[in-house]
């Protein structure tokens, strides 16, 4: 019998994962602003408070540093904690707790103390929110040993990855994309998990590998469709988690196509795109038919003006243009 499928939104897939895991694991406590009776600024906890109560869904004042420290402390002491920063931007208030405390604790304690805390937030540019509400600095976390970094692009991935993340022994930085919350996908009726560190091949292709995460997966898919009309066959891969990174799948794809472009909503400097390019050089050097390409946000603070903002973030048109140029050389 074929698997029953149904349509769900990105944000509801997250709620469903939380509900299942909070039912399964009574030690989960969820801490953050507006995540209780309000159901979350993005509706990302809608319906959970009536079911699990305010004991486990802990609304806080505006104090990300304290809330994150409290979540980490609770995780160290035997609970599993989720702290919702709401906007990724606000996690900056809490950075010292994430980087200095959560990430180091397991190693420094020789494995004796675990901090199974999930730091949840939403990133990216949406509706011209401007520089204080649009950041994509997942790379900062990814460069810190001891953290895992998850960046789902679709409802199916949100559900399976959030559930898996809530079973990890280590801190997980779980970053959704604000612009994707209303996107939809068919997902299985029953429970499923997606292991961290497994890339998803969204589209097979022969001529070039396009790697992207989060919203850039959709930009890559849009670009791939346009390129196809020009006779260029692009493979689209979403690593889904930056740490751990599915090096094997990415390398295999590059070896197959001989070309690689990484599309990244963060600026290029010291970032995710550069990491994948390094992988291509280290593992696929002989297979490369052209230099690896990075298509990233421009190194500019997020401008407010819609005209200016549209210059900064990679678009499908820009990807098509740059890939075309690459293929011509």
């Amino acid at each position: 019998m074929p698997e029953q499928l149904r349509e769900i939104s990105y944000v509801d897939a997250g709620v469903e994962a939380l509900r299942e895991e909070m039912q399964r694991d009574s030690t989960i406590v969820y801490i953050g602003q507006g995540i209780g009776p309000r159901g979350g600024n993005f509706r990302q906890t809608r319906g959970l408070c009536p079911e699990f109560g305010e004991e486990r869904l802990r609304d806080t004042g505006i104090c990300e540093l304290g809330a994150t420290g409290v979540a980490i402390g609770a995780a160290m002491a035997g609970s599993r904690a989720i702290v919702d920063e709401v906007f990724l931007d606000f996690s900056l208030e809490a950075m010292t707790q994430i980087i200095q405390q959560a990430a180091n604790i397991c190693y420094s304690s020789n494995g004796k103390i675990r901090a199974p805390v999930l730091v949840r937030s939403a990133m990216g540019s949406v509706r011209n929110a401007g520089p204080h509400h649009s950041h994509c600095f997942y790379g900062w976390f990814a460069s810190t040993p001891g953290l895992k970094v998850v960046t789902p692009a679709t409802p199916y991935d949100v559900k399976g990855l959030l559930k898996s993340s809530l079973r990890e022994e280590c801190p997980v930085i779980f970053i959704e994309h604000k612009a994707l919350y209303n996107s939809k996908e068919m997902i299985p009726e029953g429970e499923y998990l997606i292991p961290l560190g497994e890339a998803r091949i969204h589209r097979e292709g022969r001529d070039i590998t396009l790697v992207g995460i989060s919203k850039m997966v959709h930009i890559a898919l849009e670009a791939a469709a346009a390129l196809e009309k020009e006779g260029i066959s692009a493979e689209v891969i979403d690593p889904r988690t930056i740490v751990p990174l599915d090096r094997a799948r990415i390398a295999a794809s590059i070896k197959k196509t001989g070309r690689i472009a990484v599309i990244d909503e963060a600026p290029a400097m010291c970032g995710f795109a550069g990491e994948v390019v390094a992988l291509a050089c280290e593992e696929c050097f002989d297979a490369l038919d052209s230099p690896p390409l990075r298509i990233c946000s421009l190194p500019i603070p997020s401008p407010f003006s819609p005209v200016l903002e549209s210059q900064v973030i990679p678009t499908a048109e820009r990807v098509v243009k740059e890939v075309r140029k690459l293929m011509e050389n």
């Binding site: 402390g73 397991c106 020789n110």
Partner: protein, 318 residues
């Protein structure tokens, strides 16, 4: 004064003192890597507080944390081995002085980041409350932490959620060279408790019996669901901020000498002998035991193996 308890407190304080003086000596001889901040002069605070704790209760400490670890019950040999970077301590040489963990003794870590332990302890208390474990959590921190956001946000959470946590500020009047009165207009730490609707208590940090009593009340209150207390212990470090700092360029010699005159260990010894009805013999017996304990700890640490280089990747995630 309970004679038996007082003698136990004396022994514990002396352990902390002798331990730190030994660390100072070993460090100066170049045997210990890293940086050390010694607890000399402040022993009464850790000992007075921790004597009221159960083994399953939790302590979050600071950069000046060897004393907290010992007072919480981490064996001296393990603390010494960790300072030496040896494999036989609880943290296996991965942490060192400022990142030392021994959860099996309820010791949840020293900390290289000023103030960071305050929200962590508060979170551990949230976990204790949710799990109904009956544990109490103590956060130690210095005067240097109380102007930070961590202090404010941590105490606010502890108060609003009525958590089983006790906040113990070791006000030794300085944060490195920065005098507390230069860092803030309100130099009464205890008075800040009112901002969170918590009880605040000021206690003489050189009087272990007074600290013991104040901590007992706060810990009992926390354990019985009465919420947090902020205790301010007025204390002083007899040594520099870290080993290598003489500690006299920003403090007058007179001030240092005056505080040394109020040494918590000497004054308890005098009290025990004068009106505690304890014989010199039993005091000297305790002192001999402390020295044997310390010699054993040093020998254990010195002879312990270094970590295997091949274990460098172990325990990043689990």
């Amino acid at each position: 004064m309970d004679k038996k308890l007082a003698l136990t407190l004396y022994q514990k304080m002396l352990q902390l003192r002798e331990f730190e003086l030994k660390v100072q000596e070993l460090y100066r001889r170049g045997l210990l890597p890293g940086f050390v901040h010694l607890y000399v002069g402040e022993e009464a605070v850790a000992v007075g507080v921790c004597a009221n704790l159960q083994p399953t209760d939790l302590v979050y400490s600071t950069h000046r944390g060897h004393g907290h670890a010992l007072a919480k019950g981490v064996p001296g040999r393990e603390v010494m081995a960790e300072l030496w970077g040896k494999s036989t301590s609880s943290s296996g040489g991965r942490g060192g002085s400022m990142h030392m963990y021994a959860p099996e003794y309820g010791f949840m870590g020293t900390n290289g980041i000023v103030g960071a332990g305050i929200p962590l302890a508060t979170g551990a208390a949230l976990s204790a409350q949710l799990r109904k474990s009956g544990q109490v959590v103590v956060a130690f921190f210095g005067d240097g932490a109380v102007n930070s956001g961590s202090f404010h946000e941590g105490l606010n959470f502890g108060a609003v959620w009525n958590l089983p946590v006790v906040y113990v500020c070791e006000n030794n009047l300085y944060a490195t060279e920065m005098a507390f009165r230069r860092a803030t207009k309100n130099t009464s730490v205890q008075s800040r408790a009112a901002a969170y609707k918590l009880p605040g208590v000021e206690v003489d940090g050189s009087d272990v019996v007074a600290i013991h009593a104040a901590a007992r009340a706060a810990i009992e209150q926390a354990r019985s669901g009465g919420g947090p207390t902020l205790i301010e212990a007025k204390t002083y470090r007899f040594v520099g901020h870290h080993e290598g700092d003489p500690g006299t360029s920003y403090r007058t010699r007179e001030e240092v000498e005056e505080w040394k005159g109020r040494c918590p260990i000497k004054s308890l010894r005098n009290k025990l002998l004068q009106d505690g009805g304890v014989s010199l013999e039993s005091v000297e017996q305790v002192e001999r035991e402390v020295h044997e304990w310390l010699d054993e700890a040093v020998q254990f640490a010195r002879e312990s193996p270094e970590p295997e280089a091949s274990t460098v990747y172990d325990h990043i995630y689990s």
